[in-house]
Each structure stands twice: as C-alpha cells, then as structure tokens.
Symmetry: C2
Subunit: 228 residues, 2 copies
C-alpha cells in the first residue's frame, strides 16, 4: 500500500505548518529520533522527510551534525522577497487568465476566514490564511507551477520574517486583500498589480536585516499538537 508516501507528506506538512505559524524557530535542531517519536514514525521516514524539506530550503542538513530549521541569510532573504514580488506583481499585471466567478468566490471565502481570525485576535491563523489568499490568487490567475513555486517562497518568507521582523509591527494588512479583490472584479489589473507591489513592499519594510536575529531554539514539545 502507498500509505508510506502519505505518512511522509503528513509529517512534512506538520513541519511546514509549524514553520508557517512561527512555532519552529530558524536554527532549531531537528533530531531524527525525537521527530520519529513525536510523529510515531521511524528514523528512515523522518530522514526522507528532512531530505525533502532541505530541497525546499526549509531545512538545512549539516553532514554529521543533523538537520536544522534553515536560517536564511540577509542576501537570501532579499532574493526570496524580490522573487516573490516579481512573480506576484507580474502575474497580476499580465494574468494568465481573468478571475472567474468561481475564483472570486474562493477568495471571498478565504477573506471571511481572515476576518474571523482577526475578530478572534488569532494572529497565527491570520498568517496562515493570508498565505492561502495569495496562493489561491496565483492559482486562479496563473497556474499550478507558479503556485507551487510561490508556496515554497512563502514558507521561506515565514522563516525570514521570524528572523528579521522589526518589533511592534503588524505585517500583511488584511485590508489590502479586500481592495485587491475589488480591483480584480473591476478588471483593473494594472492597479491591482500596483497594489500588490505596495502590499509586498509593506511587508518588506517591516524587516531589519541589521538586527542579529534571536535564535529561540524551541524544543520540539511544540510539535506534538501538530502530529495529525
């Protein structure tokens, strides 16, 4: 049975979600045995998952020392941000196809969740849902390849924000998402693209690459609730 690949995907997803939700700090050690116990799995599977995540630049494998949550350098951070901006801004300016009614519905649904999380002051949920908004937008106006590329970029950006976020800042204004959808529905892609540029620049302006990032190496206790 092909449940092995499924199980590995489950573990990888749990780890990615932990990164997205800023629970796994960059630099954290990821011991194989410990992960195997947490996910009720075995070292071999964990090992494959870590190899996969290292290919996505989420995890860094140091030979002989083990796996660590990646710590993107300021240069890598700038490159990731610029790449994401290039893709999203360009796609909005020259969409692969126009936003369908169905697509608009999907986006609205996500925005409703976003508002809900906002009401509940659930910052963690908001980060995740915000990512989903961007990804859905790319899938609707673009294609799946761009989506999977951006998926990885968003994950890497999560690490970047955790490392370099300036204090007392609130990233990713949800009002932008609302305005964005309005512009798309009005077929105003030029303005939508410009707004997206400002939106992403807004996130970037919350970063400070000079600050030496705190390396809160969180113990894996935090992963346990994410098992399933």
């Amino acid at each position: 049975m092909g449940s092995s690949a499924k199980e590995e995907a489950r573990i990888a997803d749990a780890l990615c979600k932990a990164v997205l939700e800023r629970k796994l700090a960059p630099g954290s050690k990821l011991p194989e045995e410990e992960l195997a116990q947490i996910f009720r799995s075995n070292r071999a599977k964990i090992r494959r998952v870590l190899l996969s995540l290292s290919r996505s630049h989420i995890v860094t494998l140091e030979p002989g020392r083990g796996a660590f949550v990646s710590r993107p350098s300021p240069q890598e951070a700038r490159d990731v941000l610029a790449s994401r901006r290039l893709i999203e801004v360009s796609l909005l300016a020259h969409p692969y196809r126009k936003l369908s009614a169905q697509g608009a519905t999907r986006l609205r649904r996500i925005m409703a969740q976003e508002a809900e999380a906002h009401e509940a002051h659930d910052a963690i949920a908001m980060i995740y849902i915000s990512g989903q908004f961007h990804l859905t937008l790319i899938e609707e106006l673009g294609n799946r390849v761009l989506k999977s590329i951006t998926d990885e970029l968003i994950l890497r950006m999560s690490l970047i924000i955790t490392m370099y976020e300036r204090h007392n800042t609130t990233c990713c204004l949800s009002s932008d998402h609302h305005d964005l959808l309005e512009l798309l529905l009005a077929d105003n892609y030029a303005e939508a693209s410009a707004l997206m540029a400002r939106h992403l620049e807004g996130i970037e302006s919350c970063l400070d690459f000079h600050r030496e990032p705190v390396t809160t190496t969180i113990l894996s206790q935090i992963l346990k609730p994410l098992r399933d």
Copy 2:
C-alpha cells in the same frame, strides 16, 4: 567527511545533464541497482538522489514500481512554459539591477561557446549552452533564487521538448541571444523583454501537444559515459 553529499550531487548532476541533452527519454525506468552499478555507488545513495530529483519533478516515483523519468502532461507543460515566460520576460522588463560589464563578459563568453558548438554541428552542446545563457542572464539581472527556480524550469522544459517537439524544427535561435545582448548593452530593456517573449514563444510554437509522444525508453547504457 562530507563526501557523501558531494557524490550524490555528482550523480544528480549526471542524470540532469542526461535529461538536458535529451539522452534520457521521459518515461525511462531508472532501476536502483543498475544506477548504483553505473555510478559505482550503492542503492541507499541512489535512492536519496531519486527522491531529490522527484522533488524537482524530473523523476516520478511510483510506489512499489520504482523511479521513472517524468512525463509531463500537456497541462503541466503549458504551465511550465508560461511560468518560465513570466519570470524571464518580467525580469528583463524590470531587472533587479542593470547588466554589469562583468555580466556582459560572461554572456559573451557563453555566446562564443554557442557559436563554436554551432560550427561543430553539436546540437547537444548547443542545447546545454543555450540554457546556460538564460541562467546567466537571470543571475546577472536578477538573483540566485530566481536562477535556481529557472534552473528547474529549464530541466522540465527539456523533458517537454523531448516529448512534444514537432519534427523538422530548430528551437531556440541563437541569433536571438546575440540581439538580446545588444539590446541590454544599449539599456533598452523594454525591447529586450519583448524579444525574450518572442524568443520563448518561438520555442513553444515548435511544440505539438496533440502528437502522442514517443516513449523511447533508452537503456541506461547511455549513462555510463556520464559517470564523472
């Protein structure tokens, strides 16, 4: 010693090069034991390499059946082409930074190699060098993240061309590369971007997604010269 990662990179590179040079046909079986012998390695390392390549969509792992060179579907092909077009065209229109003198030199050197291969009627070398031209361009005007993204897209495109190329067509006119460089040196990025769009569309126009692709499952004999 960290020679293990090096060795795996060597094997992965050899396989990627074989894909780039159209020697490994899409659909070809990649038996673990055979690869281990060819590369004088062992199954464990081959296994990790195949897992890595599967994450890059170069190889498809079918549980219980083994690894195969990927066979991108027409839809996936269209998505890969569109994504690459988006990235390269947008980057030329809005480059991260202008082409430096050093960058121009790098590109000229690659174009010289291209001319050389053209003289020698070495079609295989030309494909590889042409890819290098595009990648260098992205590295010079953009950044490393975009480069590595495009690196993967070019590899996937190689599979796509092998599968869907119309007969009697010559893809990727090298004269375009020459004109492109001239435009960049003249600081005419708008025209360069337009030329890149035409250039990539030219490649796409050589494809025919209706044609059922020939599955020349090449035996791995062909890989042996690529061992080192």
